[in-house]
């Protein structure tokens, strides 16, 4: 067995340039695969982070159409509802349009209670609730623009035109690295009061209601009950789970995601072709050695195992380097793309997929050379010149 591994290890290093280039190719491919998977996962971060007991109630026309704020009281009265909050997408510009980050007007009393994944220190929350112009920002957003408590953030409204000023009261962190901390939350009542003066038609409205259901098993029933409550009203509702809402949102970008996934697998197919060619060349050069091994009494299985092991070793070495590099490169991409991918975290699933992809490449690349070497006619093999 020792001799076998010695042969595999030394054969792997025999043509150092070829092995190095092959490993480099695998690193590039598995790294690209991992990054593309991570980007797809980041896209779906909202879906993955969705809580089963949370429902989103939106206007049945579209999620960009508002709902009356007054609906909150009636939603609370629906049997099975434990808590309700509301959120309004603000869509302001911070200094320049390229500085995009999400901003939401929220109910200061209930929002953070319903989103415990956004971890806000109690004193910060108190200050936020005492200052109508207060805002709480995520850690990544604070780092990106160097913002700190006490700073004034001025946004230029697009949906709600005009200048808007907020005072940063504190910073929230994510409960886990996948939580988006590039957001800014400010008080809905500040938005509402200002709209009463500037644009009365937009006042007393919210984007969506977020509903917490006491019993997860009753979400369908509660959803139905909420929508039933507002049937035949001037703003009918559509209530769905937070996950379904996020998926619906994602549907708009589905073709991009499909393209990314296809590209990630094309990358693997390309490296599979390259590696299969390398292993075929390697095996062809060593036909005389394989024939010699057979002459000495080693069976076709032993010869095939040598090729398989070498191929898998090269693939896994490449995968190990790629897996090590993926989070480092992902972090750089997150910095470069700023708010586009707020949670570019390489998951365990992605790492596992990278390893499986590399293993698959290693095994499949060896199939033809293994078959050929194991069937090599000894006489022909001994005549072969490497």
């Amino acid at each position: 067995m020792m001799q076998f591994f010695k042969l595999v290890a030394r054969n792997s290093l025999r043509n150092r340039l070829r092995s190095a280039l092959t490993v480099a190719g695998i690193v590039a491919a598995i790294l690209a695969f991992g990054l593309l998977q991570t980007i797809v996962e980041a896209w779906f971060a909202g879906v993955d982070g969705a809580v089963a007991s949370r429902l989103i109630t939106r206007n049945s026309i579209s999620f960009s159409s508002p709902l009356p704020r007054a609906y909150e009281k009636r939603i609370r009265e629906v049997d099975g509802v434990r808590d309700v909050t509301f959120v309004t997408w603000f869509g302001g510009i911070y200094k320049d349009a390229k500085n995009f980050f999400p901003q939401y007007a929220v109910d200061s009393a209930s929002y953070f209670r319903m989103y415990p994944e956004n971890v806000v220190p109690e004193d910060v929350l108190r200050e936020f609730q005492h200052d109508r112009r207060g805002a709480i920002i995520g850690r990544k957003l604070a780092n990106r623009f160097g913002l700190k408590p006490g700073d004034v953030v001025q946004l230029e409204g697009t949906i709600y035109p005009g200048p808007w000023e907020f005072v940063v009261k504190g910073i929230f962190d994510g409960r886990d690295p996948k939580i988006d901390t590039t957001q800014l939350f400010f008080r809905w009542d500040y938005l509402n009061e200002t709209l009463r003066m500037r644009s009365k038609a937009q006042a007393e409205q919210v984007g969506v209601f977020v509903v917490d259901v006491a019993d997860v098993n009753r979400v369908a029933e509660v959803s139905e009950a909420i929508d039933h409550t507002f049937r035949n009203s001037f703003a009918e509702t559509r209530t769905e789970t937070e996950r379904a809402f996020q998926i619906g949102f994602m549907k708009q970008t589905e073709s991009i995601l499909i393209s990314i996934r296809v590209v990630s697998f094309v990358v693997i197919f390309i490296i599979l072709s390259v590696m299969a060619n390398t292993m075929a060349m390697t095996a062809r050069e060593r036909l005389a050695e394989y024939a010699t091994l057979k002459v000495l009494g080693f069976g076709p299985g032993y010869v095939a195992s040598l090729i398989l092991a070498e191929s898998v070793v090269l693939a896994l070495v490449g995968a190990a380097v790629a897996i090590w590099l993926t989070p480092l490169v992902a972090a750089q991409i997150a910095v470069l793309t700023k708010a586009l991918f707020p949670t570019l975290v390489v998951s365990k699933d992605t790492v596992a997929l990278q390893a499986v992809a590399a293993l698959t490449v290693g095994v499949l690349s060896a199939v033809f050379p293994m078959w050929r070497a194991s069937r090599v006619n000894i006489i022909e093999g001994l005549r072969a010149v490497g």
Binding site: F4, K6, R10, E289, T292, V295, G297, F298, I379, L382
Partner: protein
């Protein structure tokens, strides 16, 4: 299994390998080309037989048939009473590992293994432990005078030294017969002499049966007997006088 020298010369009387009406032909471009035809002869125990003949005479083919790395189209080859032409591929491989030591013209060493590891390689197919394997490999290398080159890779050895490693690999399992295909074909005169001297010693002192293919008369003269092969047919065996 022993690779310690045996005392005394071979008796030369009993038959080790018997070939009966052996024929072999190859198909090339739709044509059937006979290489050896209806060959019948015996190889005695402890014989050192040189098979001679011009290129294409079929001597290497005959050697491959005797060594069990090729199968005849007709006839039988028996060693110790067992007909090797009837063995399936896997059993033939086991038979080769146990009974035949190979010496090739171009040495056919594993370039990534040291001299010691190359010699040890056939022993990995046996039940010997690591320590025993190492001891036997070292002894075999000592027999061919390469005790000081055990850690060298083939690329660090001369042609003659590589062929001596190949001889050590061939004898390490103490096979019944050694087959050598042009073992001096790639060597300078001095190295060839060294290699042939080792083979002679293996035959005379250890009683090894050796079948050597060569087209070099000077090399053939180191054997005990010579047979000429011409157009696939054998001539009379010539016994050579040796001191």
């Amino acid at each position: 299994m022993s690779i310690l020298p045996r005392t005394g010369a071979a008796s030369g009387a009993d038959v080790l390998i018997a070939l009966r009406h052996v024929s072999k032909s190859y198909r090339r471009g739709g044509q059937i080309i006979p290489v050896v035809s209806d060959i019948t002869f015996d190889i005695r125990r402890a014989e050192f037989l040189a098979l001679m003949g011009p290129s294409g005479s079929g001597k290497s083919t005959l050697l491959n048939l005797i060594a069990g790395i090729d199968t005849p189209d007709g006839g039988s080859i028996t060693m110790g009473g067992a007909d090797i032409t009837r063995l399936p591929e896997a059993e033939l491989a086991d038979w080769r590992a146990a009974n035949v030591g190979f010496i090739f013209q171009f040495y056919n060493l594993m370039p990534v293994l040291t001299a010691l590891e190359n010699v040890e390689l056939p022993l990995t197919l046996t039940r010997l432990g690591r320590r025993d394997r190492r001891e036997r490999a070292l002894l075999a290398l000592d027999l061919v005078g390469l005790s000081d080159r055990v850690r060298h890779f083939p690329s660090e050895l001369s042609g003659g030294q590589q062929q001596r490693v190949a001889i050590a690999r061939a004898i390490v399992t103490d096979p019944t017969v050694l087959v050598a295909d042009e073992p001096t074909g790639d060597l300078d005169r001095q190295s060839a002499e060294d290699v042939l001297a080792i083979m002679q010693r293996l035959n005379r002192e250890m009683g090894k049966t050796i079948v050597m293919v060569t087209h070099d008369r000077r090399a053939a003269e180191h054997a005990r007997s010579i047979m000429q092969l011409e157009k696939g047919e054998l001539s009379q065996r010539v016994e050579l006088p040796h001191d």
